[in-house]
Structure formats: structure tokens, C-alpha cells
Symmetry: C2
Subunit: 469 residues, 2 copies
Amino acid sequence: MDWMNQLREEIGADVVFTDPTTRLAYSFDATPNYQAMPDAIVAPRSTEHVQAVLRLCHTYRIPVVPRGSATNLAGGTTPLSGGVVMDFRHMDRILEIDEKNLTVTVEPGCITAHLAQAVEAKGLFYPPDPSSMKISTIGGNISENSGGLRGLKYGVTADYVLALEAVLPNGDVLHTGGKLAKDVAGYDLTRLLVGSEGTLAVITQATLKLIPLPETKQTMLAYFEDLDSAARTVSRIIENRVIPATLEFMDKKTIEVVEAYANIGLPTDVGALLLLEQDGPRDVVRQDIEAMHAVCLEEGALSVEVARDEAHAETLRYARRIALSALARLSPTTILEDATVPRSEIAEMVRRIEAIGRAYDIQIATFGHAGDGNLHPTVATDARNHEEMERVEAAFADIFAAALDLGGTITGEHGVGAMKAPYLEWKLGPAGIDVMKGIKLAFDPHGIMNPQKMFAKAAKKRIVQGGKS
Amino acid sequence: MDWMNQLREEIGADVVFTDPTTRLAYSFDATPNYQAMPDAIVAPRSTEHVQAVLRLCHTYRIPVVPRGSATNLAGGTTPLSGGVVMDFRHMDRILEIDEKNLTVTVEPGCITAHLAQAVEAKGLFYPPDPSSMKISTIGGNISENSGGLRGLKYGVTADYVLALEAVLPNGDVLHTGGKLAKDVAGYDLTRLLVGSEGTLAVITQATLKLIPLPETKQTMLAYFEDLDSAARTVSRIIENRVIPATLEFMDKKTIEVVEAYANIGLPTDVGALLLLEQDGPRDVVRQDIEAMHAVCLEEGALSVEVARDEAHAETLRYARRIALSALARLSPTTILEDATVPRSEIAEMVRRIEAIGRAYDIQIATFGHAGDGNLHPTVATDARNHEEMERVEAAFADIFAAALDLGGTITGEHGVGAMKAPYLEWKLGPAGIDVMKGIKLAFDPHGIMNPQKMFAKAAKKRIVQGGKS
């Protein structure tokens, strides 16, 4: 192929791969059921390389899919239209930790956990902690606006991105923002690129905001007889003006599966558990943990365990941390969703998810970030069982509709990707979709950036159930 | 005029004004030297009214300028192309304070201070505090992404906007976001509308994030012999991992002018002052104030005064609060700028501003938000003195160039408006401007929304001085 030879000539044959094994390895991400072969994989060493690739792809109308570690759960990094997958393994450096301005500047391939450790060594803190952070990259986190367990108190990735260098599809370099607490020079392009899922430009450098590392942290686990008392606890903690660093939820089904998997002595006769953490100055943490402890008991917690030390805290966190792994071993295919609702609607949302599971005769376990209203209903299924997969898809459509009905959204932290593209219009309406398509066109007139993501060929028809819609 | 009669018919003659007095009153904002007569003023009572106005203006290509209280300092709310000024006096309600989800939902005409007071009465806190908050509206704050004194610790308006209802130029209603801590369904249209200066759509409702009201607050004032020791103090406080709620700066010239105006006993033989505040839990505030006190002394502060009580704190804050009023009385025209640099560059930036003032023989006093690197170099001049005004303009161009040279921006919190439109390309480059124009086109194909703002007919030529650019 002509463009491929030109690619090799421009950026070097050592960073262009077209062998079947490599292509296969880049044909999928962490999402079940989405796979397509790319024509080539390129691993640029510099912004100039990225410019050269994009210029060429722009000219020849070749699709480009930027990819970090491909932990995406919405099919966002699959090369559905073929073309070039761009891998950032060579652009993974931490370029600067600026202790005067409390910023860190990195290349997109930098592993999130490496960054977190590097800044912690200097007494600084990068709060976003997606579950995949040990392998996910900052470029991927920015492209997806990744959340994590600390979202309620500390916000998400977007809240820490101060400046970006990005290459536009035509090869031009765009610089947005700066090491600045305030910048209102025009539209917020930084924030527009964050969460744009590789559909607008390729991020080649990012400057992130850091904050002082909290002095200490305390961990607590509480069991509840039923969902409602756990949900009431969540609401009342916030109403009492305590904003915990972590406020995680697991339903009965998840607890059972985790215990069956790990045998760690979780009680399986409970209805729900909450994992609560607070960080900050020692006295504040003590007070907040006491306050949360009191609310748990007032709302009828069956038991509450406060960690004695960090080792004990690790065991309390363990159940939540392995939830997905435990669920994943139940069956060949695990589908993890992230419908999100206002915090006050968590109990209602979980009830609706349970009802939907019963209606479609599928097993749904739900866990997630209760403080954020960000739930992960998870289905253990088998992609080869087409009949069941159809029921699963119909159930998820109902779950999205339920989340929207409660004032929520179809995705809290995983992104739209290919998987939720048909549902995006449910959230945004035709006017919102039109505006987004216009924005896409402004950046990417030939539609080469991560095609078939975010925008569906056709929106799903939404079947409105009951009186509300 | 045909469209005006149609306007009266559609939304009622009682909310359409075309008399010369009203038109004159809406011909300017708080920016000196920008004035133009609108053809009509409309004061919608509902989203439906806004839709009707926009549909009509879209059809007849009539410019629309949304306007809150017109405290804008960049000519952003002047009807430079005539047309309709939209006034939100009738849409000023607080619709809901949601204590479960910690949100407040308001109409755009709501006065910022009213909102702040209403939520404080419930133990909640809306941190953004632009200096104009006693008269400015939330709609204006959102359109400009207003900052304030608490930006360093708490962020700016954008950090508190969770959801928007906005009317597109064609009359369609757009709903973005939700009462959600996390939402990644497509591009971040909420954030794109925040700071868009009325050039994309008309905001008709906003849901804002609230946080618990801090337990207490402490205030401290420190004098320094020279600029550098004050700037070093700012840097060292942050390096010591203390993020104060307020970290304000006034230079020698500003101190002199304030003392001459208010006679409050400020020492005029000092080089700079810092106003420092911390809020939060009592113990944390005490520790942080002690830590900041120690840094001030280590860096050679001439004196440090810690407020004994709230009344004393008010007197310490007074000098900073009246700085602009004091400067404004010096001469007929006061031009307040807001070039912003990384925090570490404050001393250098103030030195460059002083040098620029000398070079153009104009008086520049500088004060501002030192913790944010957000400085307000202020010139007392006379708009009728054209020769001096030319020097002032040239000086400001040099100030913007200096800010950019130091990694900063042309506007930290005032917006681009008409005043800085010719300089926007200096910050964004041609690629950034092109992308922004494409975004503008996606929302507003006929260019009716607040024309002549943000995008200049022609960019200023930038004269690069010295070796760096």
C-alpha cells in the first residue's frame, strides 16, 4: 500500500507494524464483542511523528484510532473502520513535576499509577484513580475523562487537566490552557478535548493540576440488611455536610459472588455493604469517620468495622477492589455498565435494575460509586449465546432509560464509544447531537478520527415505559 | 420595523422596549470606550420567550446580546452591531436548593450574592465570588466563567456548573449535564457554554454544585519591603502545601492610592501587601494561618497582622476591597486588566508591568489574586486624551505579550469580549482560532449571537521583543 510505505519513510519503519500478530493484538479492547482488524499500528516517538501520521491520514482519508492501554469498556479503542491504531508506548515520560505551580507535565503514554507514585514521592497528590490505573495511560484517562473512587470529593480527570498539546487531524498543533488557575481566553478547548474519546484530535502532552497529599486516611466497612438503609446512609452522610473521599456500594449479589470467589469471610446474609473512607488532616478524618459511623448505626447498619491500621484497611477495601474480577469469573462474558443517577436516586435505581434483571431473566450484580450515583450494573453472560445476548442488550437499554428517567446519564465514566453511541441521543436530544456533530466537523472535516465512535449511524428507538419519559 | 412588531406580538409589548432612554441605558457596560445603540431591549419571562426571540432573530438575522447586570470589563455586553439586548430581570428566581444532592437550580438573572446568601442560610456554600457579585448575575458569571478571590482553593464558576438549559440561535432548547458528579455522554457542552460569552446560545437555567460551608475563617494582612519578598512568600506558602482560601496582592502604587482615598492608616512606605485567608475546620485554619505567618516572617515581612475577630478581619480586607474604587477616582477613565501568569512568575510579571508603564509614561497600579497569578494592572487615564489612550493601548498590548511570554494568558477572568478579541490569536495561534470559529459556526450559523465579540475582524500584529516570543 502506498500510504503505508510513505508512513514508514516519514517516521521510520521501526515504529510502523503491519504483521498479522500485532494487528490482531490491536483489534480489540476490554469491551466484549467489539473487534476489527487495523491496517497498521504506529508507535510515534514525538509530536512531530504524530503530526506526520495525521497529515498523511488526513490526505488519504485513513481512519486513526489513538489508543493507550485499551482498558476501555465501551469499545472506544477498537479500529472499527480499520486504518491506523496509534500506540503511545514510546511517549510515556513524565516531563516535569513543577513544585512551585503544583503541576505535572506528561506524555500521553504515561501509566496513571506511575504518575501518581512520582508525585506522591514529592508529597503531592493526583486524585483521579480509575480502577484500571495500574495499566491505564493518562492519554486514555484524558480522552475518556476517567472517574474513579474519589470522584465525589475530588472530581474526575477533567478537573485536573490544565493544559494540552494536541495535534489536529490536519497535522496542526494546538496548545490549550496553561499552568494557570484561571484562563478564559476563548472557548474551553482543554475541557472539550477531555472526554472527546479520540474523535477530535490526538493528545500529545498534558499538564495536570496537583494538590497537597492529604495528611492521613481512614477506612470503614458497614453492612446493611437491605438496600434502602445503605442508600439512606449515603444520602444522610452528605446531608450532614460530610464529603467522604470514598463512598462505595456493593449489592447482595456482588457480595455473594465476591465471597464465593475469595472466601474472605464476608457475611452473605446481608443486603448491601458500604465502603467509606475519609482523608485529610488527622482531626478532621477522625471527626468525619465518627460522624459517618453514627449515621450508619442510626440507619440500622448490621455491623460497622473501622480499620485499625493500613493492613486492616487493605482487607476492608479488598472486597470492593476484586468485585469485577470475581464477577468476571462467573461466565465467559462480563458486561460492566456505568449508568449514573443523582445521588438521591441510588436506591430507586438499584431497585429498577433488579426489576429489569427479573423481567429479562438475567443475573445483574450492582456495585459502584454510591457517593457519585455512579453504579456498575454487571451482567455475567456468554457472548456466544445470541438469544441471551439479545436479552442482555434489551435489559441495558432499559437501564439507560431508567437512569435518564431519574435525571441521570447513560455513562458516568466509561464513555460512549461504539457501545453507547446508539443511545447518546436519548441523553442529548436531536439538538444536542446536531451541535456535537458540528463540533466534530470543525475539528475533523474528513471524519478520520476514531470513526464509528460516539456518533451512531442511527439512534436506538426509545420505548417510553409508564407515564414518565 | 416588521420584526419588532412581530416580537411584540409573540412575547408581549410589555417586555419589548424601543424608547431612546432604555436603548441608551443598554448601550454600554462597565468597560470604558465601548458603546453602541441597540434597536430593542427584550426582557423575557420564560424559556419560551427566549425561544421566540431567538427564532425571530435567527430568521431575520438580527444580532442578539444576552446581558445580566453588564459589569463586564471587556466590552462583552455592548450591542456593537445593534439588534436586540436580552435582559434577564424577569428570570431571576432560585428554583430549587436540593440538600440531598447539594445543588441549586437558578434562572440566569439571579444575582450572585442572593444565591450565595440563600444557600449559606442552609449551611451550604457557593464559592465563586467575583468582586461584582453584589450586582452581577449568575447568567453573566456563567457566560464569562467569572473568577473571584477564592479561585486558588475553590476554582472558578466553571467548576460549579453541573447542568444548563440553553436556547440555541435557531430556537431549539439544549439540556446539558445533570445533578451528576460524573457524566461523560459526549462532548462537554456544559463546559463549552460556560465562558462562551453569549456567542453560542442563551442560557435560561443552570444547576450549580454546592459544598458544605466551611466551619470557620481567619484573616491576615502582611506588609513587605519589596515585591520580591511578597512574591516569594506566595510561592513558599504553596510549596509548603498550604492552599489558602484567599491570597491577594497589592503593589506600592495601589497601597498609596488606597490610603490617599480612604485614610485608613496603611503604611505607604512599603513595597507590597498580601491579604491571606484560610477557611475550613477550626484546627486546620489555625495551623495554616500559623504556617503562613511563619513564612511571611521568614521572607522578611515588615509586619503581619492576624485578625482578632470578624470586625477586625473586615478592616484588614477593606483595603483590598476598595482598591478598584480608589483607583477609579484618580481620573475620568479607569482601565482594569487581568493578564494572568503561572503563580511562580508573579514577581517577574509585576516587574515587567512596571517597566512597561515607565516605557509608555503611564501610571499602572497592580493588584490581584496572587495565588492564581491573576493580576489586575490598572491604568488611570482619560478616554478623551487620544494621545494618551494610544499609549495605554500599546502598553496593554505589551502586557499581554509579557504574560504570554511567561506562560500565561491574555485574560484570567474578565473574558475576551470586544476589547481583547484582536489579541486572542496571540494566545491560541491560527489553529486554535480556526477551531473556535468552527465551533461558533456549529452553534450559530448566521452569526447572530453577540457579534464582534471574541473573534476579531483582524488579529493585532504581535511585535516580538527581545529574544523570546
